[in-house]
Amino acid sequence: MHIVKAMGSSSSFRGLILCAVVAVAVAMAAGQTAWASVLPFSSIEALTEKAEVVFRGRVQDVEYRLVDEGRRVVTLLIVSVEDGFKGRDSGDVKVIVPGGRYGELVQRVAGMPTFYLDEEVVLFLERYPAPRASTAAERFTLVSMGLGAFLVEGDKALRRADELRVVRERPGSPEPLGEKDRRMSIAVLEDRIRAAIVMDE
């Protein structure tokens, strides 16, 4: 209380702190790593409708694999379902994310987020197409790339869409991927998913 009061009594110091915080925020925003992929915006409701599986879970395993005769890298995730909304209630889900790290090189498919071990995420997934009968593994991939992936941080859900260039459906229409679409409370995100599922039924 005493310290708060002492700090609060100094307008210069308060201003300086504010300026520094703003500057850091601007610096961090300016430094968002991104490459481009271009796609139309998808709302939570549209993603939910399109996805076969929607859940909140945790990344249990991240494996990089060199494929396509050595020219491409993919990341294979195992994500445990902690709170299933659609398609899955529990268990592990295998997710393919094009791009990843191999040796000293990184290959990025723009628009595909980078996942890290033990991250809490909300994922909108569609089945990886046409698995052969001989392939027992059931695999999924993200719906609409980074638009279909949220990182959960505390009570916030952050959409992993920094690497996307989003196309507006109509010339002059509002910014399609504004701050409220990039960051929302996890409660709001889950409510919207559940509402969309009810609507879909």
Binding site: A6, A36, P40, Y116, R132, E175
Partner: protein
């Protein structure tokens, strides 16, 4: 520290740190790191798949792609040059790391632009073994390579795949794919199409049923601008050279685009400044944050968050110390 001094410092910090519009280009960084992406050559050769756009048969598709790269060659303040290597039959995306002893002349990797006419899910039989290419015991090509098809999200319009060194950010390969299976690319200057970007919307007033070629023709003959090739590829090329999205809506590197947009076929001052700061004519390439760099880049936004935060550290230290001193004085 006196109140006057603190206020002065505050002003200096604010004016010096917050990006001015002209400076606000942003560089791409290695994921999870602070190294900026860059090419260590000033001549980047690229190729175009010889099919070009299968929907455009008057050559304007090829011209539009070439023009997109040429646009980045124009500013005289930079000597970075994109060299068109020509049309190629190749359609494979990615990068095969050559052995260390390999002759650079024999490097088989190419920077490629390719239009994908079909979705893999539409043309590849479900029994084809290429679907198993992500399995650990499979060492053949993936379906997109075998069938020259779009294997990404069907909703994506264009995708850039880049390969670079983790430690330094040095780029070694960049490929651009355009999804012609679901989107109508145009090259003209007509009015903006009223529909959304998805091809399916073109069937709304056409009696085409599911006939895709019919839909395409109806769309094309409307003479409106849908997804402009130059507007799209010029932006992608900005990423190829290591630029990230700009906060300036008028910049080519801005993060969103409108249907029918053509204004970003050319570069904004902000894009040019990024190009010329990183690859100045006659000067060294501006790198940052990598293991090979001893000094972070100077200038606003030159190195993204990592470098900027480094630059901010002394100011933050001063701020904290000033606060401590002030508190000590008051207690």
């Amino acid at each position: 520290m006196s109140r006057f001094a603190l206020t002065s410092l505050m002003l200096v910090l604010c004016l010096g740190v917050v990006p001015r519009d002209a400076d606000a280009y942003v560089r791409s960084l290695v994921p999870g790191g602070s190294a900026c992406l860059y090419w260590d050559t000033r001549e980047i050769t690229w190729y175009l798949n010889d099919e070009g756009s299968s929907r455009i048969d008057d050559g304007t598709d090829i011209d539009a792609v070439i023009a997109s790269f040429e646009t980045w060659n124009e500013p005289e303040c930079s000597d970075l040059t994109f060299e068109f290597g020509g049309l190629t039959e190749r359609s494979d995306i990615g990068y095969i790391e050559p052995p260390p002893s390999a002759d650079p002349e024999e490097d088989d990797n190419v920077n490629l632009v390719v239009f994908r006419r079909d979705l893999c899910t539409d043309v590849v039989p479900s029994t084809d073994p290429c679907w198993d290419c992500y399995e650990p015991d499979f060492d053949g090509p993936c379906c997109s390579t075998v069938y020259d098809c779009w294997s990404h999200s069907p909703t994506a319009i264009a995708i850039t795949t880049t390969t670079f060194f983790t430690a330094t950010g040095k780029l070694v390969d960049a490929d651009i794919e355009l999804n012609e299976a679901r989107y109508l690319f145009t090259t003209g200057d007509g009015p903006v199409c009223e529909q959304g970007p998805a091809l399916a919307t073109c069937s709304s007033d056409a009696d085409c049923g599911a006939d895709e070629s019919c839909m395409m023709e109806r769309c094309r003959t409307r003479g409106c601008v849908h997804t402009d090739i130059s507007n799209t590829v010029t932006h992608e090329v900005g990423h190829v050279i290591g630029l990230d999205h700009s906060p300036i809506p008028e910049a080519t590197m801005y993060a969103s685009a409108g249907v029918g947009e053509t204004s970003k076929r050319s570069l904004h001052d902000n894009d040019i400044q990024g190009l010329c700061d990183i690859y100045p004519a006659g000067g060294p390439t501006l790198t940052c944050g990598g293991e090979e760099d001893e000094v972070p880049p100077t200038g606003c936004c030159g190195g993204g968050s990592g470098a900027m935060l480094l630059g901010l550290l002394p100011a933050l230290m001063l701020t904290i110390n000033a606060g401590r001193r002030e508190r000590r004085g008051r207690i």
